[in-house]
């Protein structure tokens, strides 16, 4: 019978292979996109690749009024950041409220989850009609933001439920007995401990808002968000400018994360290594 230590190592290697294998699987389309973003001026968004050039990056940066991705990208980024922060704050508030099991918290749980359940297109259409009747102008920063949060909050909320689920209340009780008020205990003990979950919720808020287009279909004014502009590209040529944009977004994300890690080297290490 092979030694139990070897079996442990085999399990570790197997799970490691699964993780790295899946990571590669996750990055393959991104690398394909990256490769095709350097195709020649006659190249398309599929193989075979025709020539190699920076044509599409230049095309992306050249200002065009209707097909220009930059303003919608800026709007989508701003919207995603706002959604990210609001999702994190509301998710923690909602999860914290759930911990108090207030009357109606069961129904509240389903209310928040309804955001994911209601199909996006019709929710957007419904919101657009209602705001039309109420005379509220449609704009990407108001009506679209409201609808986006409805979609991103449930994800943040469920993440916080997972984090609070096996949360060790004695740590908070320790804080209280040491004379900290409920608020200080929350701020100094609870929050740091659930920080990974809060970051997770914020990431959800950002990613899901940045990609959302079903709900934005109707809820935007004439200034549209990035996904809508990309979706409209289907009607004309699908240019590799899309891939150039995608590759740039990935590179920028890598740089942003790299610098964030460098900045937070101290605290990030501390937060993630605190063993409960």
């Amino acid at each position: 019978m092979i030694g139990w230590r070897t079996r442990q190592r085999v399990v570790k290697v197997a799970l490691g292979a699964l993780t790295l294998g899946f990571l590669a699987y996750q990055w393959m389309p991104i690398l394909t996109m990256g490769l095709l973003s350097f195709t020649g001026p006659d190249g398309g968004t599929t193989f075979p690749m025709r020539g190699v050039s920076l044509h599409w990056y230049r095309e992306l940066l050249r200002v065009q009024s209707v097909d220009d991705f930059k303003p919608p990208m800026a709007r989508s980024l701003a919207l995603a950041l706002a959604c990210s922060l609001t999702t994190a704050v509301f998710a923690v508030a909602a999860a914290q409220a759930m911990r108090a099991r207030f009357r109606g918290s069961g129904a509240f749980f389903y209310l928040v989850l309804l955001g994911v359940m209601a199909p996006g297109l019709l929710v957007g259409f419904g919101i657009a009609l209602i705001t039309r009747v109420l005379g509220i102008p449609l704009a990407w920063y108001s009506t679209t933001f409201a609808v986006h949060l409805v979609w991103t909050l449930p994800f943040g909320f469920l993440t916080m439920l997972a984090v609070f689920n096996r949360f060790d209340r004695r740590l908070e009780e320790a804080g209280l007995t040491l004379g900290a008020s409920r608020l200080t205990t929350f701020r100094r003990i609870t929050l740091p401990l659930v920080l990974p979950g809060v970051i997770g919720s914020a990431l959800f808020g950002f990613t899901l808002s940045f990609d959302e287009f079903a709900r934005s279909f109707f809820s935007t004014g004439s200034e549209q968000t990035l996904p809508l502009v990309i979706y409209a590209q289907f009607d004309r040529q699908l240019q590799p400018t899309l891939y150039a944009l995608g590759t740039l977004t990935t590179v920028v994300s890598l740089l942003a994360v790299g610098s964030a890690i460098a900045l937070l080297r101290g605290s990030a290490r501390r937060t993630l290594t605190t063993r409960p």
Binding site: D42, G43, G44, T45, T46, F47, P48, R50, Q64, S65, V66, D67, F125, A128, L129, T131, R132, V133, L134, G135, L138, F217, F218, G221, S222, Q224, L228, V229, Y231, A232, Q233, F234, D235, R236, Q237, L238
Partner: protein, 388 residues
């Protein structure tokens, strides 16, 4: 039926709370506002056209672009819209839903120069009747043809697009039945919108003698059943590689050699060729499936004069020439002012362009893109096909 009554009937029937909209509705006469809300798609609200219009009229265009024709029409319900760029099928829908108001053709001097296809519905008395939502017959409100639901500004003919290396075609002539030739199993693609997919299938079955239908664009329930049965068999055989719903999807399918034969139109063929994959636009034996996109004026239009100026601009010729560059035709012949004779020969004359000169095409329009009356039945059966 004056425009005010249309707006009032919209209030009564259309808007959610009549009171609120009445509040929102502007006074009849107002200053020439410097903005025009235009709803359209990426293939007509193109950069050079918008910039030229603003340069000439001083009116800034606020475009709302969406690939979904239904969403474009419904935009009028939820936001301020002045002009709606739409095909004849969705103009019919918008008119029935009282979302648009009649256009006084007398305010459009250039419309007098429209080709016969758009005045009589037939290019010549002998050419086929052109079943379906034929703009030439559908667009006029009154018998005297002085009022129109919309004014076509560009039109196109769908036919069979094929990869000549894979699919042989004598003198570039193919029948719609070729789309269902078992030799191209797994390499064919049809239109993914249910009523247009069924229309393609009907054209093919008609060509193969498998369907006797009085009007291919408005099939009876029994006729729809036979078409769907046929499509289900083809699907079981794995005949269709994919369906497409937008220009970009079809181009990708053909460029990537996923598909060798599909119903397509000249701009897609040009794009596929430019991406380096051989592609040709066949002359359809039975005739073309045509469609015309034009401008309608929204019932809640706040800048009616601006809206007319926008339509006149499209008929004036500059836009026609610009759209000709990417392969679309203009119903009025004012484009010649902005194109060299050589450019005119290459686009309208059919030189170096599959399918011959525009007159020959106008005369061979077999059907127009149409939204059938029994839309529900089409959707039910199409879903049956998807679920099979």
């Amino acid at each position: 039926m004056t425009s005010t009554t249309t707006r009032r009937s919209l209030l009564k029937g259309g808007a959610l709370a009549a009171g609120a909209l009445a509040l929102g509705a502007p006074a009849r006469v107002h200053a020439q506002s410097k903005e025009l809300n235009v709803v359209g798609a990426t293939f007509n609200l193109r950069d050079p056209i918008l910039q030229e219009f603003t340069k000439r009229s001083g009116i800034a265009v606020k475009p709302w672009i969406n690939p979904s024709a239904q969403a474009r029409a419904d935009r009028i319900r939820v936001a301020p819209v002045d002009n709606l760029e739409s095909g004849a099928d969705f103009v019919k829908y918008a008119w029935e839903e009282k979302l648009i108001q009649p256009i006084d053709l007398s305010r459009l001097p250039n419309w007098k120069r429209a080709t016969r296809l758009f005045v009589e519905g037939q290019a010549t008395p002998q050419s086929p009747l052109g079943f379906g939502d034929n703009p030439g017959r559908l667009m006029y409100v009154d018998k005297e043809k002085t009022k129109a639901k919309y004014v076509p500004s560009m039109y196109q003919f769908d036919s069979i697009a094929y990869n000549p290396d894979r699919v042989p075609a004598k003198e570039n002539v193919l029948s719609w039945g070729e789309l269902f030739n078992p030799k191209w199993r797994g390499k064919a693609a049809l239109y993914g919108i249910e009523w247009l997919g069924i229309l393609d299938a009907a054209l093919g079955m008609h060509a193969l003698g498998l369907l006797k239908a009085q009007d291919l664009t408005n099939l009876t329930e029994k006729e729809v059943d036979t078409v769907i049965l046929f499509l289900k068999e083809k699907k079981k055989e794995g005949h269709f590689r994919a369906f497409w719903k937008a220009f970009g999807e079809l181009v990708n399918l053909m460029t990537a050699n996923e598909v060798w034969i599909a119903d397509g139109w000249w701009p897609t063929v040009m794009e596929v060729r430019q991406k380096g994959t051989p592609c040709r636009y066949a002359e359809a034996v039975e005739g073309y499936r045509a469609w015309a996109v034009g401008s309608a004026i929204s019932a809640t239009c706040k800048n009616v004069d601006g809206a007319y100026e926008w339509i006149n601009f499209w008929l004036e010729g500059f836009a026609g020439a610009k759209q000709a560059e990417i392969g679309y035709y203009s119903p009025v012949d004012t484009y010649t002012k902005y194109m060299t004779p050589e450019q005119v020969r290459k686009s309208y004359g059919g030189e170096g362009r599959d399918g011959g000169p525009v007159e020959r095409r106008n005369a061979r329009v077999f059907v127009w893109n149409t939204k059938p009356k029994n839309q529900e039945y089409y959707s039910d059966k199409w879903n049956e096909f998807l679920a099979s």
